[in-house]
């Protein structure tokens, strides 16, 4: 009952915020394409015509260097790329949250060891490491996901550790200790719920990272080149010398999709920032109220009543 009311509140909040609505619409379209698109579009591997045909009424986005339909490949790639992107986004934040909360909550030697670990991972440049790991492991979406989680979790862990440190010092955590709550219960019931907005924001930005990095690695040929994803579409386009042959339709649609999904997620994220920050929300409401009264609003913090 409680979860439906809070998710209902989130939906309402997204609809109130123009940026978030925009991001949510873009993302919904891509999700629909990812789920139902491959059922409608047909076999992406099928050789359907003459290679490197420009867009026509028969093949809306033209054909690839192998004579496959670009639109079908784009749709098939959407499913795989988004699945990997969101899965990696969730895992990155999951691992980061577990390590960060453990470090921040237990402190002392646990903190020392875990902090050392994620500081080392932070210093290692992510993409080069990903390239090295991906080159040694058997290629495939699972390997790719693993590589992206391994190189992406550390920053989240660091942020969540800092947040846990501040929450742990609060009196309500001391009250929970005195109430006899176990450490696990304190973490899951008292500390993590205060970070929901942070975690949601992290999942979104980590997904952006995951999609970008995944496409990048696959473009370099470090993914499974026989699979059909956005990254391999670009890889084959470059392999078939798309730029030399001026076959723009083999790479532009995929590139545009990567950019659009990233843009949509970023919009959703900045919308969430306003949704979950009561001060920003009040400021916006107050400014529009003043404008309605014909008063030019200044940059100021509105006067509020008793809020933390």
């Amino acid at each position: 009952m409680k979860t439906t009311s809070t998710s209902g509140a989130w939906v309402a909040a997204i609809r109130r915020d123009r940026k978030a609505t925009f991001g949510a619409v873009i993302l919904s379209i891509f999700l629909l394409v990812a789920i139902f698109g491959p059922l409608i579009a047909g076999d992406p591997q099928a050789l359907v015509g003459v290679p490197l045909q420009p867009p026509s009424s028969e093949h809306w986005l033209g054909t690839t260097g192998q004579g496959q339909d670009v639109l079908r490949q784009l749709v098939a790639g959407t499913r795989v790329s988004l699945a990997i992107g969101f899965a990696v986004g969730l895992c990155v934040v999951g691992v980061g949250a577990i390590v960060g909360v453990a470090a921040g909550f237990f402190g002392r030697s646990v903190d020392a060891v875990l902090s050392l670990l994620f500081n080392v991972f932070l210093v290692i440049p992510g993409l080069p490491l990903a390239i090295v790991i991906a080159a040694y492991l058997p290629s495939g979406p699972f390997t790719l996901g693993l590589v992206l989680v391994a190189t992406g979790w550390a920053w989240n862990a660091r942020v969540i550790r800092a947040q846990t440190l501040t929450q742990r010092k609060r009196d309500f955590v001391a009250a929970a200790v005195v109430a006899g709550e176990s450490n696990i219960r304190i973490i899951t019931r008292e500390i993590l719920p205060t970070m929901t907005s942070l975690l949601v924001a992290q999942v979104i930005s980590s997904t952006v990272y995951a999609i970008g990095a995944q496409v990048g690695l696959e473009f370099l040929g470090l993914g499974d080149v026989s699979a059909i994803t956005w990254g391999t579409n670009l890889y084959w386009a470059q392999n078939d010398s798309a730029l030399l042959t001026e076959a723009w339709w083999t790479f532009a649609p995929t590139g545009l999709c990567v950019a659009l999904v990233g843009f949509g997620l970023a919009m959703l994220n900045s919308g969430f920032d306003e949704i979950t920050n009561p001060r920003l929300q009040l400021e916006r409401a107050w400014r529009s109220h003043l404008l309605g009264l014909g008063i030019a609003p200044s940059r100021s913090t509105p006067v509020t009543v008793g809020h933390e």
Binding site: D171, F172, A174, V178, A179, G180, S182, R185, R189, H307
Partner: protein, 285 residues
């Protein structure tokens, strides 16, 4: 008359030589600092049903003392005996069970309630942890707790930000009462509240003490407040107890120079003689 049962007049809580030293931080780049002795050999006794006021200025170690007794902070040395149990010897599992008997009310009613939990779930939590009552009758217990602290029972669905400071403090008191403790550390429970609300909360604490036979360690920096609620007062200065005794004696006949200085700092309304009425013709006299 002598039996194995503890003496009725024996203290419920006995603290001896309590000490908390914060070790110096030393790093490669930082100069070695001296250790900070926050609590320096404190002895305290609290009898059943008694309020011991612990008074002193900010930073004298009052709060650290209170939290050490509850083992929210691990003391460096000393003994804490509660109802015959050596509190410092308890393992983490025993300690969690033992916490039913000792609770705490915090100073800051804004920080002491989780902003994401409703009043109802905040009060339900300790009941669930200690498996008090059937899950089915816990809502009734929560309502009963709200009634005890003088809040409407439909407040269970409210979030802390929908309550005033005084109401939050009442929720904090209800949470402490949930597990049925015998002893409560009240850590400056009214210093964050308006004066008019202070009196209400102090009266509530007094009523609860009478109804439930609670003992309090009442920590405050305001001698006026402590004087109002305490049976006995301990005055703390720089980590040490400099004077302790019944309230009338400490306030009426302070022995220690620090207590006298503290008393002199309390604003008082002089009540010598009846106030004279001001009337229109007073100017003629």
């Amino acid at each position: 008359m002598s039996s194995d049962r503890p003496d009725r007049n024996a203290p419920l809580l006995q603290v001896r030589g309590l000490k908390k030293v914060y070790a110096p931080t030393s790093g490669f780049f930082s100069r070695k600092s001296t250790p900070v002795v926050a609590v320096d050999g404190v002895d305290l006794d609290v009898a059943p049903g008694e309020t011991l006021g612990l008074v002193g200025e900010s930073g004298c170690g009052k709060t650290t003392t209170g939290r050490c007794i509850l083992r929210l902070i691990e003391p460096t040395a000393g003994s804490i005996t509660f109802d015959g149990v050596d509190v410092r010897a308890l393992g983490s599992r025993d300690l969690r069970a033992f916490r039913r008997r000792m609770q705490i009310v915090f100073q800051d009613p804004y920080g002491s309630l989780n902003p994401r939990l409703t009043v109802g779930s905040a009060l339900h939590e300790p009941l669930a942890v200690h498996k008090i009552g059937d899950p089915s009758d816990r809502p009734d217990r929560v309502a009963e707790l709200l009634r005890k602290v003088g809040l409407p029972t439909d407040y269970t669905h409210r979030y802390p930000h929908e309550l005033s400071g005084g109401q939050r403090q009442r929720v904090g008191i209800a949470r402490a009462l949930a597990v049925g403790p015998r002893f409560i550390v009240a850590d400056e429970p009214v210093s964050a509240l308006d004066v008019s609300i202070q009196a209400q909360v102090l009266n509530l604490l007094n009523d609860l003490q009478e109804a439930l036979g609670l003992s309090y360690l009442f920590i405050a920096h305001d001698l006026g407040v402590v004087e109002h609620v305490s049976h006995r007062i301990a005055v703390m200065y720089e980590g040490k107890i400099v004077e302790t005794g019944p309230t009338e004696q400490v306030v009426g006949d302070p022995r220690h120079a620090y207590t006298r200085a503290l008393l002199a700092a309390v604003p008082r309304i002089r009540t010598g003689g009846r106030p004279k009425p001001v009337s229109g013709d007073s100017a003629n006299r």
